[in-house]
């Protein structure tokens, strides 16, 4: 949540933070009498947690894109620097061995920076993986919420049925190399079976 969102929240008369306090008492919903549970799904603890998680996923995606923007800019600056150094290498005054050596060192360092920037960009995959894990949690929370509502006989289920779009991500978190080996093995087995 950024400052503008905090400001908007505060401008709303502090009503939402009060809800957050209610959300912290989530388990109390199950113990409450049916009449108190019959409020709108998003007014209760579970509904609020769900919307909070939704906000978390959208905010992290937006912030991840800001990080990507910064990394893009660093990458462009390094490319520009490499171009300038390449131009410098052709300059008559830069032909002495000492200068050439220094220029090569600068180029080598630039390449290392560029590689690290690309590596950092690749690591941003965590955002998508975390988002999907949170979506799965939201899906389970909805199921628990609906189960409790059923149990208490209020008949008020989640207003918006949003099935988890995450299938099975139990094996995520393993290394990319392990992931690749696993997928490749299944693909090979599938192909062999098809041929046979």
């Amino acid at each position: 949540m950024d400052q503008s969102e905090i400001d908007a929240l505060l401008a709303g008369g502090g009503k939402t933070p009060k809800k957050a306090k209610t959300a912290a008492k989530g388990p109390a919903v199950a113990a409450a009498p049916a009449s108190t549970v019959s409020s709108e799904p998003h007014q209760d603890g579970n509904g609020h947690v769900i919307s909070e998680l939704d906000t978390v996923t959208s905010v992290t995606e937006r912030e991840s894109n800001k990080v990507m923007d910064q990394l893009d800019q660093i990458s462009q600056l390094v490319s520009r620097q490499q171009q300038l150094v390449t131009d410098m290498m052709r300059h008559e005054g830069a032909q002495s061995p000492g200068v050439q050596k220094a220029i090569h060192e600068v180029m080598s360092a630039s390449k290392e920076i560029q590689d690290k920037v690309f590596e950092a960009m690749d690591l941003m995959q965590f955002q998508d993986i975390t988002r999907q894990k949170l979506e799965r949690i939201v899906h389970h929370l909805r199921q628990i919420h609906d189960y409790i509502v059923d149990l208490l006989g209020t008949g008020l289920k989640s207003d918006t049925e949003r099935p988890s779009i995450s299938h099975t991500i139990a094996q995520t978190g393993t290394t990319p190399d392990e992931n690749k080996a696993h997928a490749d093995a299944v693909i090979e087995a599938f192909k062999s079976q098809k041929k046979g």
Partner: protein, 118 residues
Amino acid sequence: MKILIVDDSSTMRRIIINTLSRIGYTDVVEGENGKSGLEKLGQGGVEMIITDWNMPEMDGLEFVKTVRGQNAAIPILMVTTNAAKEDIVEALQAGVNNYVVKPFTPETLKEKIESLLG
């Protein structure tokens, strides 16, 4: 070579686009779910598809099945968090040519793309 990337995560699309540009593929179109992927595909010129599985509105599996109903030849690479063996087999049966599990390395993506393009 125009490549269609279908993923609901804008971060992931950027990562894939970035990786593709590093290996020489800069002509890219994007879709944020299967439905918009089909729209982009309908605009023509796409020679390869990289798609996610878990997406709202139309997921990757349904997208692949729809594409295969219209085009049996276009190479399709699925890039997803779904790592279970049954999922991989289901995707292959739907018509996916190759499969990458997230998180992936740029080398893996490069290897898979090159193997698909023969």
